[in-house]
């Protein structure tokens, strides 16, 4: 889910003061620390994702919002 989609979904259900920040790149080497990402998937990502994108396949964010 893209950041703008996440923010829009929060607003759509009624949240106010939506804020998305911190935004830390999450790369294949980060994913490899988690047992949920199988070695096969890690190898698949290393093979299919261009090297210049492998350090940031996703962004780890903090999302905050308030119920009015």
């Amino acid at each position: 889910m893209a950041e703008r989609v996440f923010a829009r979904k929060m607003e759509k259900v009624g949240f106010a003061d939506v804020w998305i920040g911190e935004k830390i790149p999450y790369g294949i080497h980060d994913a490899a620390l988690y047992p949920l990402f199988t070695p096969e998937l890690i190898r698949l990502m290393e093979r299919l994702i261009p090297p210049d994108r492998q350090g940031s396949v996703a962004i780890a964010v903090i999302a905050k919002a308030r119920k009015p």
Binding site: F6, E22, P35, L41, L48, A60, V61, I62, K67, P68
Partner: protein
């Protein structure tokens, strides 16, 4: 009968199977990246071993003593325990997880951390939170909402259980560029 065109059942089953299959979380390498030394101090080693988050929602949630906090997808209970320490015995920390074994595990970790008297763990789904309307001050979660095939439904449920003026503070992954279809269609990618 309606057809599950978005494969929600399959996605949910894949996520559940992936979490049931693992024997531990990311452990210290993950925990040390996410949490402060102060937070890690006093956390049971077994809870740290089950760290599976992607951020540190408790650090950003500005929790106050006496508040009721809900941790959606509480897993091994790390963030619930950290939240319980912030709200203290006059508050309440509730962890909800899809898996019975995670709920049991987290209960043990909370006991070990000494926060069990104001902390509880329940089995439940984030798309159908087993709590009454307007019963919670703060909702946190850590790398969990992205696992749901019904993210809007999850957000609507968070909104429902929050009291007016309540807040959500979640850590999660966003993806801005398309990933290769072989990766996107992998069960492990959904679960991770």
């Amino acid at each position: 009968m309606s057809e599950d065109l978005l494969y929600q059942t399959e996605v949910k089953a894949a996520v559940q199977a992936a979490y049931s299959a693992i024997g531990s979380g990311g452990g210290e390498p993950v925990a040390r990246r996410l949490y402060t030394e102060e937070q890690l101090a006093g956390l049971p080693a077994a809870a740290i071993a089950w760290a599976l988050g992607v951020g540190n929602p408790v650090l950003h949630a500005e929790l106050r003593p006496g508040e009721t906090v809900l941790d959606l997808g509480s897993g091994g209970g790390v963030d619930t325990i950290l939240a319980a320490r912030e709200v203290g015995p006059t508050g309440r920390a509730i962890g909800i997880d899809l898996l019975d074994e995670m709920v049991e595990r987290a209960r043990g970790h909370a006991r070990e951390a000494g926060v069990e008297h104001w902390t509880e763990f329940r089995r439940g789904e984030m798309e159908d939170i087993p709590l009454p309307e307007a019963s919670v001050d703060v909702v946190i979660s850590n790398g969990v909402i992205n696992l749901s095939p019904r993210k809007s439904r999850v957000l609507a449920e968070i909104h429902r259980v929050l009291r007016p003026g309540g807040r959500m503070c979640v850590a999660d992954l966003t993806v801005e560029d398309d990933l290769p279809p072989e990766v996107l269609t992998s069960d492990a990618a959904w679960a991770g």
